[in-house]
């Protein structure tokens, strides 16, 4: 039986998630919650015969007994208000905002580690796109320092991202350490206004200390890209990973080499246009985490 779930937030992310979940057999969207009666996301949900309300989470909590999982696609501030109420109602939350209340989950790295957490966080789009690569390197080499540059089309960065750009760089940089396994991390975000809009680009640099195995590093990255592409089909390398040698004085120490992975993320075009790979990777990761939760629940509940 499919796991009943609700989407809170009816903006781009919430609506794109709605489209993805509708196709999913393990997860059954039974409710969509917003605060704007005019929202296109709510209209879509109603069109699909899903209970949709503009009365906010009060309504949702009254239905809590029919629900297992909530996808939060509002804002960090709103999620901080909602999270304790979800917990009290016994709902498991997959948080797509940067509130970071629960442990960070990145499919491809630690999907199964926090299935009993009650509230899991998806970091940022840049984190979902780059932490797996840092992890891929860190599982075959020490990574004293990792750095990522995430470039997204200006039109795909909404006011929330723009006003919280420090939060993005900080949270993402921390995820390179906490999830990726680097000793130190730094994240940079660039907005590019080119028209037609560019696809999301991510460049990952990992410092490689003396004794690294170049083939193992490259092989591990290629394997990880395949793994992530399993749930984000538009996730790909622009070129094979390159290893450059020089003397690099990184904050994590001086190293003789760095590996560079040049990544592109093309969105699935469900609700958001294909250039919005940054938003697509969040919703695709959320679905993947939801599937894992659903599978864990099926195991727990005896048939």
């Amino acid at each position: 039986m499919a796991t009943p779930c609700a989407i809170v937030g009816t903006g781009n992310i919430g609506t794109d998630l709605l489209e993805k979940l509708r196709r999913n057999d393990a997860l059954d969207v039974v409710a969509m919650v917003g605060i704007d009666p005019e929202s296109q996301g709510l209209a879509r949900a109603r069109g699909y015969g899903i209970d949709a309300t503009d009365e906010g989470v009060d309504w949702l909590l009254e239905q809590a007994q029919h629900l297992d999982v909530v996808f939060e696609a509002t804002s960090a501030w709103v999620h901080r208000q909602n999270a304790p109420r979800y917990a009290e109602a016994g709902l498991t939350t997959i948080d797509l905002t940067p509130a970071k209340l629960g442990p960070s989950v990145v499919p491809g790295v630690n999907l199964d580690d926090h299935l009993d957490a009650g509230n899991v966080n998806l970091i940022t789009c840049g984190g979902q796109a780059t932490a797996p690569i840092v992890h891929a390197v860190a599982r075959v080499s020490d990574v004293p320092y990792a750095e990522i540059i995430s470039t997204v089309a200006s039109v795909s960065a909404g006011p929330g991202t723009r006003q919280n750009i420090d939060e993005f760089t900080h949270t993402t940089g921390q995820a390179l350490v906490d999830v990726g396994g680097a000793a130190m991390g730094k994240a940079i975000m660039v907005l590019n206004p080119a028209d037609p809009p560019i696809l999301m680009r991510n460049t990952v640099y990992c410092a490689l200390p003396e004794g690294y195995d170049a083939d193992a590093v490259r092989g591990s990255i290629l394997e990880m890209v395949d793994e992530v592409a399993g749930h984000v089909p538009g996730y790909r390398l622009k070129a094979d990973p390159v290893i450059e040698t020089d003397t690099y004085h990184t904050p994590g120490g001086t190293v003789p080499a760095r590996v560079i992975a040049l990544l592109e993320v093309e969105g699935a075009g469900d609700y958001l246009p294909t250039y919005a790979g940054n938003l697509d990777i969040m919703t695709a990761s959320a679905v993947r985490v939801g599937e894992a939760l659903a599978a864990a629940r099926r195991q727990e509940v005896p048939a």
């Binding site: 750095e147 540059i149 470039t151 200006s154 006011p159 723009r162 006003q163 750009i165 420090d166 993005f168 760089t169 900080h170 730094k186 940079i188 975000m189 660039v190 907005l191 590019n192 206004p193 080119a194 680009r201 460049t203 640099y205 410092a207 622009k238 070129a239 390159v242 450059e244 690099y248 004085h249 990184t250 904050p251 760095r258 560079i260 040049l262």
Partner: protein, 347 residues
């Protein structure tokens, strides 16, 4: 002294950092600040070339922590104000706070010319910390004067004390610079500044054209030490102003001496507009890409001209230095394929 025609900001110790791969020492900072301060330069900018927090794989690691350089600058100045640059997305408010604690006076917050709204919080914090705030619209040549005005209005609404038209690629003609500065100076209530690069050999001319249509702040770098083909040379600008009877408040011989004796030895070849420097301006590519592009061209054995022109075609913006490697790898692959095809035809 009579009223000054404009306020000069010298960015040798920030934009110049690009030209020497971010390797300024505290002693060099002390020497430059001491000289410029004595010559009467009102504002001196000190930061990694890509602003606070710029030390990275992507832009180059600083030889000395920029906070240490700022400490040296603040200690060496008598009258000059010390400014920092920061780019939201690269630096954060945390670094701005640390710089403010060191005693800086001016925070210049830079965004790509279409993305002013990512600077709102940083300008807000600068004002809250009691700093003067400047909004810095990079690669201003990429959009029209009218579009630039919209972005300038946003910066003004966030509390910026001045909005800069920034010709990061040195791509602006005199008319380009004049139209943009004139419109902003006419429609904004705050001051307007110009930051010119010399790729088309127009940096001083563009600065003076901007002054004529209302620029209240102008940037220079001694010897032109800066990204790409370099900046508007401070000493040439001051000398030209002196000859035109424009009051800068700066002693021309003072800056000429600092340029020649303190900064020239740091990079003797500064000021030559070679093919690479010219092409950056011609293709509209951010000047800071120069050294990174040279290294990549050599490493991947690709033509520098192809590399720069392709970057121009892709309309990359400031901060996208990673695309240099992307393009170089792509060109290398294409060359290998072309060679394989030739071999295939022969066999």
């Amino acid at each position: 002294m009579s009223e000054l025609a404009f306020r000069l900001t010298d960015s040798t110790l920030r934009d110049g950092s690009h030209a020497i791969a971010h390797r300024f020492s505290p002693q060099q900072v002390t020497d430059v600040v001491t000289g410029l301060d004595a010559a009467g330069v009102p504002v001196i900018e000190v930061s990694h070339g890509d602003g606070l927090g710029g030390s990275s794989f992507n832009y180059g690691f600083s030889a000395t922590d920029e906070m240490e350089l700022l400490r040296a600058a603040v200690a060496a100045r008598q009258q000059s104000k010390i400014a920092i640059l920061m780019l939201p997305g690269i630096g954060t408010r945390e670094e701005l706070r640390r710089a403010a604690d060191l005693g800086i006076d001016v925070a210049r917050i830079a965004t790509h010319c279409t993305e002013a709204d990512i600077a709102e919080q940083h300008i807000g914090l600068a004002k809250q910390l009691g700093l003067e705030a400047v909004g810095f619209l990079m690669l201003s040549h990429m959009i029209t004067a009218e579009e630039l005005l919209e972005q300038g209005r946003k910066l003004e609404s966030y509390g910026a004390d001045c909005v800069y038209v920034v010709d990061s690629a040195g791509a602006m003609t005199i008319d380009d610079a004049r139209r943009r500065v004139a419109l902003l100076a006419d429609r904004l209530t705050v001051e307007v500044g110009i930051h010119a690069h010399n790729n088309l050999s127009l940096a001083v001319a563009n600065s003076i054209a901007a002054l004529e249509v209302g620029a209240a702040q102008i940037d220079g770098c001694t010897t032109g030490l800066g990204a790409g083909a370099g900046n508007c040379p401070t000493e040439a600008l001051v000398a030209a102003c002196q000859r035109s009877g424009v009051a800068t408040g700066v002693d021309p011989m003072g800056v000429v001496d600092v340029a020649e004796e303190v900064v020239r030895p740091v990079r003797p070849e500064q000021g030559v507009i070679d093919r690479d420097g010219l092409l950056l301006g011609y293709a509209g590519v951010y000047g800071s890409f120069l050294l990174h592009a040279r290294r990549a061209a050599e490493r991947y054995d690709v033509d520098m001209k192809d590399l720069l022109l392709e970057l121009g075609r892709r309309r990359v913006v400031g901060g996208q230095e990673d695309m240099i490697i992307d393009v170089a790898v792509e060109l290398e692959r294409r060359a290998a394929q072309a060679q394989a095809a030739t071999v295939g035809t022969r066999s």
